[in-house]
Amino acid sequence: MTSNAGQWLALHRSMCRIRAFEETALAAHKAGNIPGPLHVSIGQEGVAAGVCLNLRRDDRITSNHRGHGHALAKGAGVAGMMEELFGRAGGHCGGKGGSMHIADFSVGMLGANGVVAGGIPIAVGAAQGIKLLGQDSIAVCFFGDGAINRGPFLEGLNWAALYRLPVLFVCEDNQVAAFTAARDVTAGPGVVARSEALGVPATTVDGNDVVAVDALAARLAADVRGGAGPRLLHAMTYRHTGHTSTDVAAWRPADEVAAAKQGDPIARLEARLIAEGLASAAELAAVRDAALAEMQAARTAALAAPWPDPATAYTDVLGA
């Protein structure tokens, strides 16, 4: 048990930091300090944390429009992320990307993506490049349940299986795509069957049980790194909030939302940590407070941070 303590506490801290970052960002967006659309993953932190804590710095990830958690869990700098959301010069992308285009190549975060399934071909190619260069890092591709209805899902999985590429696909199944329930737009038995029909072994896990996600991700990442070829991790989870910060998702049945919130991955892990005597409620609260303090400090700093020099609007178009 205690052998788990370190990892479990790390998972807890990772999730708390994601939650704190996004709650802080939501508040800043409401306050008018964050321009553009904001997609938060509150309720889904177990997936990002459980997967990314099993990755090395030289592993690569691609993400989607709801990517703050993936970036943070992969080690992206908080200041650079918050400043990017604020559109400031110190943002990871110099303010050119914003929330939907966060990237931190220094930690292998190859970018969020504003196009559903847009990260799939890129992750597959990253894995192919890694293999060509003879390296032993892997690529991890995060996408939502909505992405499995776009062509690149089929093309990318077939391709990854064909060339036995070191890529782990992670389908974050929050059962909704924008304003439409996944079940209303997805035919057949689902993502696992689709994945296996394309030659990619797939496993479903309760994405709100971060310990289970961590265990499965550890196994699949090891298989992929070991040369077994691609794998798909299907994590069932739930989006507590609306699609964007301005969407209240009023159409969702209240009891469904309420029930889902019971499954909050942070609360579940905390209950378990306490039950197994690995941490006290006070210790866990301290972690949450520390995370919130960190993010609020980042918010304060971002608000005071300089705007980009308008001249930089013309740079980074072509590198040559």
Binding site: P35, G36, P37, G87, R88, G91, C93, G94, G95, K96, G97, G98, M100, H101, N113, G114, V115, V116, A117, G146, A147, N149, R150, G151, A177, A178, F179, T180, D184, V185, T186, W251, W307, P308, P310, A311, T312, A313, Y314, V317
Partner: protein, 319 residues
């Protein structure tokens, strides 16, 4: 007064009431669409005619074509222009070519709605203005209105047209208010709207940039410069006669558009004038060849503004 997005909603509603072969498909349309442009459609017209689809742009586009071939009139909703990049084979290789390739057997009676342009700092993948591409593409009509009345009239015409009509909703102007008749008549394609008369120069623009052009004209007027303004409304067919006549009158032509200047539709307009009405002084005002940045000061730096239009006009007058 009616907002532009409401005018579009009323126009599509009117046509769906009028013709049972008209239907709409796209993501979330049964929930009213991303901008409320289909609000109430599901309740009124039912799930067979108001089809919320999977995130499958290629089939949203291609299924619209297939359904047109058997006699229906689909409104293909792309949600945001940039996503049409996921459906370009269906649009460019199939829809635009099918009537010609098959010797006139096919009737690709589709409207492809693509809310485009800058809007709320949406950055590089949600703000593109590539309308010029489609003026260069044989087989399609290209519409880009800027007022509630024009948007409504042109959408009605688009829905009734047997040709594929690419309808560029100016998403940044959805809130713009204007008068819209209770019964919306189809507005013929290819006719520019004279927004303002003047003698110093002619400014041609369209879509979301029109308000900026009108502001610029006010500033210029205050400086004693009377600009004539034309809203092109359609990029293909486009009203070359009106543009040429006005430019001949004023002797100077400025084309302003939200799109990147290099290779934008302004180039075609200027080239036609230079070829067929030599002697008219010409200029363009568009964005630099740069993707859309997210940060407000960066977006402001590259986007076309009233001040940039005024400066371009004064440079042109100084020549």
């Amino acid at each position: 007064m009616t907002s532009l997005v409401e005018a579009l909603r009323l126009a599509a509603w009117q046509e769906m009431e009028r013709d049972p072969r008209v239907w709409v498909l796209g993501e979330d349309v049964a929930r009213g669409g991303l901008f409320g442009q289909y609000r109430g459609f599901l309740e009124r017209f039912g799930a067979d005619r108001v089809v919320s689809t999977p995130i499958s742009e290629a089939v949203i586009m291609g299924a619209g074509l297939g359904a047109a071939l058997v006699g229906t009139r689909p409104i293909i909703e792309m949600r945001i222009f940039d996503f049409v990049m996921c459906a370009m084979d269906e649009l460019v290789n199939q829809i635009a070519k099918i009537r010609y390739m098959f010797g006139g057997q096919a009737r690709p009676s589709v409207v492809v709605r693509m809310p485009h342009g800058l809007w709320r700092n949406s950055a590089a993948q949600h703000s593109q203005v590539l309308e010029a591409w489609f003026a260069h593409l044989p087989g399609v009509v290209v519409v880009a209105p800027s007022t509630p009345a024009d948007a409504a009239g042109l959408l009605v015409a688009a829905i009734r047209s047997d040709d594929p009509v690419l309808f560029f909703d100016p998403k940044n102007l959805f809130g713009l208010e204007g008068e819209v008749p209770a019964a919306i008549a189809p507005m013929p394609f290819g006719h520019a709207r004279q927004v303002r008369t003047g003698d110093a120069l002619t400014i041609v623009s369209w879509s979301a940039l029109m308000p900026a052009v009108e502001q610029a004209a006010v500033t210029l007027a205050a400086r004693g410069i009377n600009a004539e303004i034309l809203d092109l409304r359609c990029l293909w067919p486009w009203d070359e006669a009106a543009v040429t006549a006005s430019a001949r009158r004023t002797g100077r032509l400025l084309v302003a558009h939200e799109a990147v200047e290099a290779g934008g539709f302004g180039a075609e307009i200027i080239a036609r004038i230079a070829e067929h009405a030599p002697g008219i002084r010409v200029a363009r005002c568009g964005m630099p060849r740069v993707p859309l940045p997210f940060s407000p000061p960066l977006e402001d730096a590259i986007k076309v503004t009233p001040a940039k239009i005024v400066a371009a006009a004064e440079r042109l007058l100084a020549r």
